[in-house]
């Protein structure tokens, strides 16, 4: 893994769909060699970001660089190096599976047919089957096979596990991890499954209300967040250097999920280490790092 080189870099990136923003003020850097997760509720801008990265749509404002290049319909060499799996998993329904593989082979100079056939054989997907006769999960696997067999440097996967059963999902996660390990490729995937994030991702980007609210290494994120609890002392002030991400009140007292930049030693608080899932949920609930989540029209644009 080569540190310091990013596969995806956005600066003040924004995408506007008529009257609503699909993504705004997005500034982030995803380093090379990572499995990065984009996490956020529906309409938060995950798919918008991935589609812009795949060159399917253009930013309204800001800049986006993928593998050091600006993705656009004109950057031919970038398409060779990037694999994209759309959340709708579009496939030619009238084609047979083997014809879909031929489609991939004819359109990609870096195509590896052995990878494709071995992957589908492992999943017991017959090559002679028509795509329309396959289950949703099998179609998702064929779509993913098209992506992987292209052997890209960067995989952009929009909710890859959405249509998969638990076993297939587990297989997919293993496959992705192996892909990264074997080929030093990078993966950026969007997902709602926080357990997947914890299982395979080493970088997390949390989006809420079309904005990036958290973007960092998973280890660093876990190390810099704590759950502070206190009983019957609601007015106790927090020490400086702490940012409250989410606060919960109940009959037993207060519970805060906070970002801690400094070593925290205050005996009056009970300190717990949160899981990545708890941290992400806290950010999603808060809507922004300062807890000032605003009501934003989240109507999902069809093109998003």
């Amino acid at each position: 893994m080569i540190e310091g080189i990013s596969v995806l870099e956005a600066v003040n990136l924004g995408k506007r769909y008529r009257r609503t923003w699909g993504l705004q003020d997005c500034t982030l850097t995803i380093p090379k060699g990572r499995v990065a997760a984009l996490v956020g509720p529906n309409g938060s801008g995950k798919s918008t970001l991935l589609r812009m990265a795949a060159g399917l749509s253009q930013p309204s404002v800001g800049t986006l660089r993928v593998l050091g290049r600006s993705p656009s319909p004109g950057t031919d060499d970038l398409r060779e190096r990037v694999g994209y799996l759309d959340q709708d998993r579009p496939l030619y329904k009238g084609f047979r599976v083997v014809e879909m593989l031929r489609f991939g082979e004819m359109n990609n100079p870096t195509w590896n047919m052995d990878v494709a056939k071995n992957h589908l054989a492992r999943l017991d997907i017959p090559l002679r089957s028509r795509v329309s006769d396959l289950s949703g999960g099998q179609q998702a696997q064929v779509a993913l096979t098209l992506c992987l067999s292209k052997q890209p440097e960067l995989l952009l996967l929009d909710e890859p596990g959405a249509a998969l059963d638990p076993v297939a999902r587990e297989d997919l996660l293993r496959l992705l991890m192996r892909q990264v390990a074997d080929s030093e490729s990078s993966v950026v995937l969007s997902t709602h499954a926080l357990s997947d994030v914890a299982a395979i991702c080493d970088y997390v980007v949390v989006l809420a209300h079309t904005r990036v609210v958290l973007s960092d290494d998973t280890e660093y994120i876990v190390e810099t967040h704590r759950i502070l609890s206190i009983v019957d002392d609601r007015d106790l002030a927090l020490p400086p250097g702490i940012t409250v991400i989410h606060e919960q009140h109940n009959a037993r007292g207060r519970s805060l999920l906070v970002r801690v930049e400094l070593p925290f030693n205050d005996d009056r608080w009970r300190v717990d280490r949160p899981t990545l899932e708890e941290i992400v949920l806290a950010y999603l609930r808060a809507g922004s790092p300062h807890g000032d989540g605003r009501d934003v029209d989240e109507t999902e644009d069809g093109a998003r």
Binding site: A54, G55, L56, R79, P90, Y92, E99, N107, P109
Partner: protein
């Protein structure tokens, strides 16, 4: 190119089968028509229904009846002939782009290693090859059929579009039209509907308003019988125009004039004639007024030897328009959102 063939092959196969059925029917109709006319022309009335007399009535009437009734089936062949290529082109064009956009497979295609321009260029090349392969023999067959049943009139508006290669040019134009509309509307059904309406307007406009003005008309003095000699066509060259010509319109010109009159002169003389005939009750005869005003009734027609010139002009128009639409779509495809 294989991908284009794979995507378009069911449509191509359907139209290929339809083309075979139409071809067989057209072949049968054409041969039948040729036989009928051969018999009618060799009958005592010499293929002229105006020449029916008591002596030849028995021989000629049934033949004339057969010739007339076969015309109705000819109309069906003609309708299919005119609609076949445009429909084929439009459906291929809609399937090539609008259907892909609706099915979202465009997101798959546009994230492969090839560029969008290459993707669309392949669509054009593959589909045009399919169109030409299926339409070229059909064009030849329709041309033969027009010769067999309408040979005295292959240049006329009615059969001109299926008498040469205009048919194939229309198919290619329709493909490009459907591609551009598909990129814009993004829905196959609506794209097809809009493209059909647009093409119908362009086709009718060109055929009725533009084409008659592209030929160099000639003048013939109208014959009193209004009927020429019968031909193997079932049509007659009216009013003295030579066979295989396209009669445009009739009017008047000064007796001394031998050149093609201007529209304004023809209109002015027609008005004068009408005024003359209506000047008395009962109205005066045309021949009397023509003599009084020193004019003669003429027929403007486009000679049959301009057939290929007009074919190249109309076919060229559709092919150039198709090339412009292709250029527009190749430019626009880079801007289209997936």
């Amino acid at each position: 190119m294989w991908v284009v063939w794979r995507q378009q092959r069911s449509i191509a196969a359907a139209f290929f089968l339809l083309a075979i059925v139409v071809s067989v029917w057209t072949l049968i109709m054409g041969l039948h028509e040729q036989t009928l006319w051969r018999e009618f022309l060799s009958a005592p009335c010499k293929g002229n229904p105006g020449g029916l007399t008591a002596s030849n009535l028995k021989d000629c009437q049934s033949l004339w009846s057969s010739v007339s009734s076969s015309g109705k089936l000819n109309e069906v062949v003609l309708g299919i002939g005119i609609a076949f290529a445009p429909l084929f082109g439009l459906i291929l064009g809609v399937n090539a782009v609008a259907h892909e956009i609706e099915q979202k497979t465009i997101r798959l295609a546009w994230t492969q290693s090839g560029s969008r321009v290459r993707w669309l260029t392949n669509k054009y090349l593959g589909s045009v090859v399919l169109l030409v392969v299926i339409l070229a023999p059909l064009c030849w067959l329709f041309s033969w059929w027009v010769g067999a049943s309408h040979d005295a009139a292959r240049i006329t508006q009615k059969v001109f579009a299926i008498s040469g290669f205009v048919e194939a040019a229309c198919g290619i134009f329709c493909f490009a039209l459907a591609v551009v509309i598909g990129l814009w509307i993004r829905r196959p059904g609506w794209s097809l509907a809009v493209a059909i309406v647009l093409f119908a307007a362009i086709f009718l406009g060109f055929t009725t308003e533009v084409l008659p003005n592209l030929g160099s008309p000639a003048v013939a003095v109208m014959q009193s019988t209004q009927l020429g000699k019968g031909s193997s066509s079932g049509f007659y060259s009216t009013g003295g125009a030579p066979a295989n010509s396209w009669p445009l319109w009739t009017g008047f010109e000064p007796e001394t004039e031998k050149t093609v009159p201007s529209h304004s002169l023809m209109n002015r003389l027609t008005t004068n004639m009408n005024r003359c005939q209506a000047s008395e009750t009962p109205s005066l005869t045309e021949s009397f007024c023509a003599k009084q005003l020193g004019v003669t009734r003429i027929l403007l027609y486009i000679p049959g030897n301009q057939f290929w010139t007009l074919q190249f002009l109309e076919g060229g128009f559709y092919l150039i328009a198709a090339a412009l639409l292709a250029a527009l779509s190749l430019f626009a495809v880079r801007k289209v959102k997936a």
